[in-house]
């Protein structure tokens, strides 16, 4: 050390210490994507045997979804605390996919526990009560900053539900839709679709729940309800008499919109679930479940 005068060494040390503190505090506040990347890196490395999984309750796969659980995503007969359907039934697309993933991870059907997770709390900061949440949640890059998404388990199109015999029911193109009032459910990408693709002249309405949106269309307070296509089939078949699907919309972006399961940020379980999903995709299970539960969603006219 004789090369440097003592005072200067001390000064350099002080600066280094300061830098270290700054770096630490930056790391601690979690700004910057580098920490995210490292978290993603570790997910694939972790072992996916049942005993090594990072679970909320050891030995149990805790899966969240909103209540009521609507067909065709969930099926079976209503069983408390669930309304309309029963996620435990294994019927309906999301229930079936969740059980298929659970099976891949080594869980028996009895080791899967369903809990009610309202959409708004699925992304609340802090520890999560579920291992993953499966609730028709669309992947978006901005959302992926707050939670981790699994790969796609369903590529989704938006569709338009209208009442038969109303003026909008004779529209055949997206351009013809502009003068009408639309509604969407909060948290869905349907609202974004209305705003950025239909660009209607009237401010669209946004509802907290599916019920409120459906009631509003029944009341003719809105002319059209934009929902994902499978939900549109349920709305027209079971929720609103005298309604019809006017059509589905072509996917707007380059990448198809898709639903992913939601995980706590940095949860190593994501990698294992993605492995399971990719197996289910390649062995044809996902296609089979889609055919079984969402077959109707294949054929709806496309609005251009």
């Amino acid at each position: 050390m004789p090369k440097y005068p003592r005072g200067r060494v001390a000064a350099v040390r002080r600066i280094l210490a300061l830098l270290a503190v700054t770096a630490l505090s930056i790391a601690a506040t979690g700004c910057g994507g580098s920490s995210n990347k490292s978290a993603e890196g570790t997910t694939t490395a972790a072992s996916c045997s049942k005993g090594d999984l990072n679970l909320v309750n050891a030995g149990t796969l805790t899966v969240g979804t909103d209540n009521p659980a609507y067909p065709p995503w969930f099926g079976g007969s209503e069983k408390a605390p669930w309304k309309i359907s029963d996620p435990y039934s294994g019927q309906g697309y999301e229930s079936a996919v969740a059980y298929a993933v659970a099976k891949q991870l080594g869980f028996a059907k009895s080791e899967v526990k369903w809990i009610v997770v309202p959409f708004n709390t699925s992304f609340a900061p802090g520890p999560k009560k579920f291992d993953f949440d499966i609730n028709q949640i669309s992947f978006k890059p901005a959302r992926a900053k707050a939670v981790d998404f699994s790969d796609s388990y369903y590529d989704v199109n938006q569709a338009l539900v209208v009442l038969k015999g109303t003026p909008i029911a004779s529209a055949t193109s997206v351009d013809a839709l502009k003068p009408y009032k639309f509604g969407a459910q909060l948290g869905t990408t349907s609202y974004d679709y209305i705003k950025s693709n239909i660009k209607p002249s009237k401010q669209p309405a946004v509802f907290d729940t599916n019920d409120a949106a459906v009631q509003s269309l029944k009341n003719k307070q809105i002319d059209g309800l934009v929902v994902d296509l499978p939900t549109a089939f349920y709305v027209t078949a079971a929720q609103i008499e005298n309604s019809k699907i006017l059509g589905q919309f072509p996917n707007a972006g380059a990448a198809p919109e898709h639903f992913g399961m939601v995980f706590e940020k940095g949860n190593s379980l994501v990698g294992c679930v993605n492995d399971a999903l990719s197996k289910l995709r390649s062995d044809g299970t996902l296609q089979r479940l889609r055919d079984q539960w969402l077959a109707k969603a294949a054929g709806a006219p496309v609005l251009k």
């Binding site: 939670v147 909060l186 009631q215 003719k220």
Partner: protein, 268 residues
């Protein structure tokens, strides 16, 4: 002189204790284990700037609903208060109706009134009944706040000493003349602070109309929060509501102070 020194010392002590208090609070919050997460999800400046213009736009709807509702509330509530103060057994049915109205609409949560009217009334599919959710939201707010504000008016009317009314009547004024010329001018002046208090409540409750689908400031912030899984838009909406409320609160304080000064001046 000593008073001045003591005054200055009081200011210094107040300043110091304020600084210490908020420093401790700030340190406690920023050193909480979840703080980085909370800061990212609630206080993201980039997100704030992105969502603020849209929320501010939507906030205009809140202001509009508030202004329209308030005008009707002031009139209806006064009528209700007058009905409830009508003397004599003949008016008992009217008084009873007034009491039932106030009890009912103060008892039912505002959001329920909004939901029941907003989805219920248009469901009747009557001709000439508006379908607009905003319209029914405003009607619900008027119904609920008329009940509250009528109580405020009534408290003011009852605070005017009966001798005032008696004196007016002995001069030959009718009940309504006495009410109009003697009682109400005193009553209304006394209840201006609680009236403004209810205005502030009304301003905030306009956010409940979002339940019907109207995109007001809170709904817009929910849309933004759901799109990004970040709660910063809620903070942006809160900032807007507070920015509207604070001037009104300070204005209330000023009115109270002015009234007190005037009365003291008369007393001297």
């Amino acid at each position: 002189m000593t008073a001045g020194v003591e005054g200055r010392r009081a200011v210094v002590v107040a300043l110091l204790s304020t600084v210490v208090f908020f420093t401790l609070l700030g340190v406690a919050i920023t050193h909480a284990p979840g703080w980085p997460e909370v800061r990212r999800t609630f206080f993201d400046w980039g997100q704030f700037k992105d969502s603020f213009p849209e929320i501010a736009d939507a906030f205009l709807l809140n202001v509009k609903m508030f202004c329209i509702a308030e005008a009707f509330i002031l009139v209806f509530a006064l009528l209700l208060a007058i009905v409830r103060s009508l003397p004599g057994p003949v008016f008992f049915p009217l008084r009873a109706l007034g009491i039932a109205y106030a009890d009912f609409f103060r008892g039912v949560p505002t959001i329920l009134v909004i939901a029941l009217l907003g989805f219920g009334a248009p469901a009747l599919q009557l001709k000439h009944v508006p379908l607009s959710t905003t319209f029914w939201g405003i009607v619900a707010l008027i119904l609920v706040y008329t009940a509250y504000v009528s109580e405020v008016y009534r408290a003011g009317i009852e605070s005017v000493h009966p001798s005032q009314d008696a004196a007016a009547r002995s001069l030959g004024l009718t009940h309504f003349q006495s009410l109009r010329k003697v009682v109400l001018p005193q009553a209304v002046r006394r209840v201006i602070p609680p009236l403004l208090n209810d205005f502030i409540g009304l301003q905030k409750d306009t956010a409940l109309v979002g339940f019907l689908g109207s995109v007001e400031a809170f709904k817009q912030s929910q849309i933004d929060a759901a799109a990004t899984f970040n709660y910063t838009p809620f903070v942006a909406a809160a900032v807007l509501f507070v920015a509207l409320t604070i001037p009104l609160a300070r204005f209330t304080d000023w009115l109270v102070l002015r009234d007190r000064r005037r009365r003291q001046a008369v007393g001297a």
